[in-house]
């Protein structure tokens, strides 16, 4: 989408692309504008005709002219009506064009927001991204407001120039002399305006960014009482934006009067040259009068070009800011392979083959890439429940998010049912793998919409009974039943009317309703009561058993494969196997008992509470003993006295 070449080339490409994308609208808009141009001439002609052949003779006593008064009025009225219609049509279609191109930009931008990976989003502030869809989009399309007007009157200007030529080439030359001046003025303008407007648009994005971030952090700001600090942070950016806007304004303030004065200067120049030509006898006085009136009339249409030129720098900057997003790459490519099994069938087998993940240094401070995972080799058999345990920051989240292909490993392969995840077709993984992340995102939608993430009645959308089943498994059914509206109850933005634990359970229901073949829980129950967590996990295990026992005669099919990041030992105890991750590597893997026996790091994690309780009890006992000893000593002293 990016534009290339010189500024003139890019400007023309920008305008051409916009118009070409909605040819119907622009044919009408430019057509109406052309009509407007012709009718402007028409009005002046009609007034001239009415004056010369009706008003003056009629007042002079011409009976015939007096009878023509009403006809004159009618002709003028008819021209007025057509002119007004042309104006309305020009503005309506020009407006339609602008809002359509804006909608196009917004669609293109948001498609990219949806396509680009989380890593891209981490580096692009939400406020900036929102600002692209408003301020930058408006900037990029501002030029389309006067454009049809300017293009429509091209014909009118052409006709005028032709008329001038028939009168006298020197007069024409005088009239056109302002063109090179305009070009020069415009060149100076564009040179000053481009950097100014670039800065202003960037600061607009920054202001939106600070606002967005600060509002997202509203609770924190209140909790720490940093309102003043946020105000001065925002105020600082706002003042920078003000200064930048004033700078843009000053450049524009100087350009506009100059460009608007030039046509008048041209007219006066023509008068001067014309008088000289009359004195040499080359031009008749009447012809010069015609020429002068023609130019006076042309002033406003010619100014339309000034408006286009004035808007161009902003349009280019806005467009280029949009194009940077529209052209951003980094969305994960998909292959066309399919998983051997279909959704709803038995558990998935998972293998991480010598996987490593490096992170390009996003902070850039030292410019080195960082290894998040290295040499991870894990195999999970279908239907197994595996716990991933490790300290905070060990790489657990990075590991499990590979399975849902939120990102790709730098080295090695992620094999789902033996197929490299990178070769799978778009949609295959979300259809069969459900990842419940640590922080839950709730859409501003109903409970049903948030669980199914599908439109009601869409093909493949889960039925209400399936939704209730999932809610029951996630132990959220009672809560939802108590809500006014039940499944239809609207959840506020980001689920503001649910507690943290309720949001997490909703996310679990969202995963379960898809009957995934691989369920990945990334510490997805941290805000859920331990008792409820147990119920949920046991429910999952029961369901897996049901799946296995449903058709006892055929092969016992293993249930859903579950991979969970967990801290609670009771949850870990439900797993068939434990993977202990430490410093981006798999430290050990085996059953809980095996690891307890041979992995000291794991033992430290697993018994942290126990050890702490014992330590504390011992401390208290010591304190008590010390206290008792003190008391005894005191008593002894007392006795000694």
């Amino acid at each position: 989408m990016a534009l290339t070449g010189s500024r003139v080339r890019r400007s023309i490409a920008l305008m051409w692309r916009g118009m070409r994308s909605h040819p119907g609208i622009y044919v009408l808009a430019v057509g109406a504008s052309g009509l407007f141009g012709a009718l402007t001439v028409g009005v002046s002609r009609a007034v001239g005709w009415a004056t010369d052949s009706v008003v003056v003779p009629a007042i002079a006593g011409d009976e015939a002219a007096r009878d023509r008064v009403w006809l004159g009025g009618l002709v003028l009225a008819a021209v007025a009506v057509s002119l007004a219609l042309a104006v309305a049509a020009r503005r309506i279609w020009a407006g339609y064009g602008v809002v359509r191109i804006q909608a196009d930009h917004r669609t293109a931008l948001t498609r990219q927001y949806l396509r680009l990976p989380a890593s891209w989003h981490r580096g692009h502030p939400a406020g900036q991204l929102l600002n692209h869809t408003t301020s930058d989009t408006e900037a990029a399309t501002g030029v389309f407001n006067p454009l049809p007007f300017a293009l429509g009157v091209v014909v009118m200007i052409g006709v005028s120039v032709a008329l001038l030529l028939t009168i006298d080439p020197w007069l024409t030359l005088a009239a056109l002399a302002v063109i090179p001046v305009t070009v020069a003025v415009n060149a100076v303008y564009q040179r000053h305006m481009s950097p100014a407007v670039t800065r202003a648009q960037r600061l607009r994005g920054d202001v939106a960014d600070v606002a967005h971030e600060s509002f997202e952090a509203a609770l924190l700001v209140k909790a720490l009482g940093t309102e003043d600090r946020e105000e001065s942070r925002f105020g600082g950016r706002t003042q920078e934006l003000r200064a930048a806007n004033v700078r843009v304004g000053i450049v524009r303030s100087l350009f506009d009067p100059v460009i608007q004065t030039l046509p008048s200067i041209g007219t006066l120049l023509v008068l001067g040259v014309g008088t000289w030509r009359i004195s040499t006898g080359d031009v008749a006085p009447g012809d010069l009068v015609t020429a002068a009136y023609l130019l006076t009339m042309m002033t406003v249409p010619v100014q339309a070009f000034g408006w286009v030129l004035g808007e161009l720098p902003r349009a280019l900057v806005g467009y280029e800011r949009i194009a940077q997003v529209a052209d951003a790459t980094g969305a994960l490519a998909h292959g066309d392979a399919r998983l051997p099994q279909t959704p709803g069938q038995a558990g998935m087998s998972v293998r991480l083959a010598d996987v490593g993940v490096d992170l390009p240094a996003i902070s850039g401070a030292r410019g080195r890439s960082i290894t998040l995972l290295d040499g991870v080799d894990v195999e999970i058999e279908p239907g197994a429940t595996v716990a991933v345990v490790g300290t905070t920051g060990a790489g657990k989240t990075t590991l499990v998010s590979l399975l849902a292909r939120l990102s790709d490993p730098t080295r090695g392969q992620v094999l789902l049912d033996g197929v490299d995840a990178r070769t799978l077709a778009d949609g295959e993984i979300p259809a069969q793998v459900a990842l419940v992340t640590q922080s839950t995102f709730i859409f501003e939608d109903t409970v049903r919409g948030n669980v199914t993430l599908a439109d009601p009645g869409a093909p493949g959308a889960p039925s209400d009974s399936e939704v209730w089943d999932a809610l029951r498994l996630a132990r959220l059914d009672e809560t939802v039943r108590d809500l006014a509206g039940g499944l239809d109850a609207p959840l506020g933005e980001r689920g503001a009317n649910l507690s943290g634990g309720q949001r997490q359970r909703l996310a679990i229901a969202r995963a379960l309703v898809r009957a995934p073949r691989l369920l990945v829980l990334d510490d997805a129950t941290s805000a859920v009561d331990p008792r409820v967590e147990q119920e949920i996990l046991r429910g999952l295990a029961d369901r897996a058993d049901d799946g296995a026992g449903a058709e006892p005669d055929t092969d016992p099919r293993p249930g859903t494969t579950v991979l969970m990041v967990a801290y609670r030992m009771s949850s870990v105890a439900l797993a068939d196997r434990v993977i202990h991750v430490e410093g981006g590597r798999v430290a050990d893997t085996g059953t809980h008992d095996e690891l307890m026996a041979r992995d000291p790091g794991y033992r430290a994690l697993a018994t942290a509470y126990e050890v702490e309780t014992e330590r504390r009890e011992k401390e208290r006992a010591d304190e008590a003993a010390a206290g008792a000893l003190d008391d005894e000593l005191d008593e002894l002293e007392e006795v000694a006295r």
């Binding site: 920054d206 609770l219 009068v289 943290g500």
Partner: protein, 661 residues
């Protein structure tokens, strides 16, 4: 399990009665909106009279040109004695002079207007922004974040065109109309009356049309706000969208919002085009009427042909500003629509507000008392039914209870994020309602469950807790909190290269300014020390860039547990007298959690902490356990005592022990 309304904010529609909500738009009329707008940003009208004078000169200059052209032709070119070169030259140069003067005045007017308008808009933005933070948490949640952003950005921008150009031009146009009317009266009072009467239907159309234009623009603002809300979901929820493969559906929803905004915009364009072209229509029809009536008058001997021709010229001087005025009035409606949205924010009442003459307290150990505290969310059921608690100073309190029992509500009341519906929360014997916010926030800090991080480094985020500038040997003594320039979290541009070559993230970082050298050094030392004291130095050392590690948008480059670690360090650096931890380590591994808990124990000795936790290890370590059950305080006492008794806590603790072994 109890109803959903407990630990949570209630559905928006429940907030109508008691809770203030951020209205979609203020209900002020057009003039009231203008008055209120100027009251908020008085800069807008600063130096207006000088600007108006210059604008009139500019307008007069523009009228001079057609007159000059006519004069040049009449007396210069068509002179009886043949073209008079000298005269033409004189007139043309006079006209050029007038033109240049007019252009100069116009430029000056523009510059002055840009300055005052931008200053006014900056004030409007900042005031609205600040007011959002002043609003209570419950009120804040009545509007989408994305839409709130549009109130301080896009909606304000909507006002700019009118205040930069429209306001002054409206006055100039009005004066032009007056002058033209005066001149017309000299030529023919009857025709002047005809002109004015002809414009009556237009004034009616405008009056009537403006209502619709206003509504159309208001709808546009609302739809654009809703569109931003929808787009914001796709940005903030990008990971969820990707994980569930619902990009297509999310895209459809956004497309719907974009289309809604587009159709509203298109509708407003049609209305604007309609009113404007009706102005064009009447202006030109008036010409026809004047020609007819004027001729009839002329025939009757009331007017000469020359007078009529001159009058026709004046009519055009009259209709020009009238058309301009219709254009400006449309723009005014657009501005009013945007202004109302911003004013709606600024005029939203602050429910949890500071009283006039609020008290500032001495720092020192915090003694918290809850006296028969009741709380219900606006229009919701009561969730705390008369809670009375005495939490002595220097006590580590653990609040435990089932999901939905009212734990978090207590935390929000103690930190005055909300006020109780009845009863009182007191800090050292002073009702929180009587305390100055600056004093309260200095003494009491809440660490919420979801540790929000700003886009910046770990260092910057932790240092955010250093609310006042650290004492440094030189250059200290600037006012606290206000001062962000001094190496605090001021946002400076960073020229960090983006890895993918896509658009730079706007250079937005919470950066420590290198210029604030000593301040920055002191901050860094304080942050390092905090992490060390919390036993988190190892974790920091393992980070890709140590303290300089960028945390990404909303801290998403870190895991939830890591974000909580930074949030704890941040709160710890704030050095409050009372630290309220609401599930602040829920996503941290047990070993780290225990380490932090122990560190906090020793470090906050002499201070008070209130911890809300599912993990009962916290309760074991506390001095006092408060068990909340269904909005009542069920049990209070030391861990050992309660664990030994046969109550709710004993049960909870037994099952906790079973889960952890």
């Amino acid at each position: 399990m109890t109803a959903v309304t407990d630990e949570a904010e209630v559905p928006e529609d429940l907030l109508d009665a008691d809770g203030a909500r951020i209205e979609s738009t203020s209900s002020l009329g057009v003039f009231a909106t203008l008055r209120r707008g100027i009251e908020i940003s008085p800069e807008i009208t600063r130096g207006m009279w000088i600007t108006l004078g210059l604008a009139l000169l500019a307008a007069a200059g523009r009228v001079v040109v057609p007159l000059a052209v006519q004069q040049t032709i009449d007396v210069g070119i068509l002179a009886d004695a043949g073209p008079d070169l000298g005269r033409v030259a004189l007139l043309a140069s006079l006209a050029t002079g007038a033109l240049v003067l007019a252009a100069l005045c116009a430029a000056l007017v523009n510059v002055r207007l840009f300055r005052s308008a931008e200053a006014g808009l900056a004030t409007l933005r900042t005031k609205a922004f600040r007011h959002v933070h002043n609003l209570s948490t419950l009120t804040q949640n009545t509007e989408r974040r994305g839409a709130l952003v549009s109130r301080v950005t896009n909606d304000v921008d909507t006002v700019s065109l009118f205040v930069q150009w429209g306001g002054i031009m409206l006055l100039v146009s009005a004066l032009q109309i007056l002058v033209a009317t005066g001149l017309m009266l000299v030529y023919s009072p009857i025709l002047t009356a005809v002109v004015w009467i002809s414009f009556v239907p237009m004034f009616l159309v405008i009056r009537y049309g403006q209502k619709y234009v206003n509504r159309a623009y208001t709808l546009v603002r609302e739809r654009v706000g809703a569109m931003l809300g929808a787009i914001s979901e796709s940005v903030v929820g990008a990971e969820t969208v990707r994980a569930y493969g619902v990009a297509e559906r999310t895209g459809r929803r956004i497309d719907g919002a974009i289309e809604d905004a587009r159709s509203a915009q298109a509708r407003s364009q049609v209305l604007v085009a309609g009113t404007f072209s009706s102005g064009v229509l009447i202006s030109n029809l008036v010409l026809a009427v004047v020609v007819v009536v004027g001729t009839l008058l002329g025939v009757g001997g009331g007017l000469t042909a020359g007078q009529l021709v001159a009058f026709l010229f004046l009519v055009q001087l009259f209709t020009g500003p009238v058309q301009m005025a219709t254009e400006i009035l449309n723009e005014l409606q657009n501005a009013v629509a945007g202004w109302r949205r911003v004013i709606a924010v600024i005029d939203t009442p602050v429910q949890v507000a500071e009283k006039p003459g609020a008290v500032t307290q001495q720092r020192g150990p915090a003694h918290v008392t809850l006296r028969d505290v009741r709380f219900s969310y606006p229009n919701g059921p009561e969730v705390l039914h008369g809670v009375t608690l005495d939490l002595p100073p220097r006590t580590k309190v653990a609040v435990v209870g089932q999901t939905g029992s009212g734990k978090t509500t207590i935390a929000k009341l103690v930190t005055r994020l909300m006020d109780p519906t009845a009863g009182a929360v007191e800090l050292d014997g002073v009702n929180l309602r009587d305390l100055a916010f600056a004093s309260l926030r200095e003494r009491v800090v809440l660490v919420p469950q979801e540790g929000f991080l700003f886009d910046g480094t770990v260092l910057e985020n932790a240092a955010y807790g250093l609310r006042a500038p650290l004492p440094v040997p030189v250059g200290a003594g600037s006012s606290p909190a206000r001062d962000v320039g001094e190496g605090q979290a001021s946002r400076t541009e960073s020229s960090d290269a983006e890895p993918s070559g896509t658009e730079p993230s706007g250079g937005e970082r919470l950066a420590v300014e290198p210029s604030g050298g000593e301040q920055a050094g002191a901050e860094r030392a304080a942050v390092e020390q905090a992490f060390a004291e919390l036993g988190l130095s190892d974790w920091v050392a393992d980070l890709p860039d140590g303290l300089e590690t960028a945390v990404g948008q909303r801290g998403e480059a870190l895991s939830a547990g890591e974000r909580q670690l930074v949030a704890i360090a941040r709160a710890y650096l704030a050095q409050p007298d009372l630290l309220v931890l609401d599930e602040a380590t829920s996503a941290v591994d047990p070993a780290t959690e225990v380490r932090i808990a122990r560190a906090l124990d020793s470090l906050t000795a002499g201070r008070s902490t209130i911890t809300i936790a599912h993990r009962l290890s916290t309760a074991e370590a506390s001095d006092l356990v408060v068990v909340v059950d269904q909005g009542h305080v069920a049990e209070v006492g030391p861990h050992a005592e309660l664990a030994a008794a046969d109550g709710i806590y004993a049960q909870m603790h037994a099952s906790w022990v079973a889960q952890t072994r």
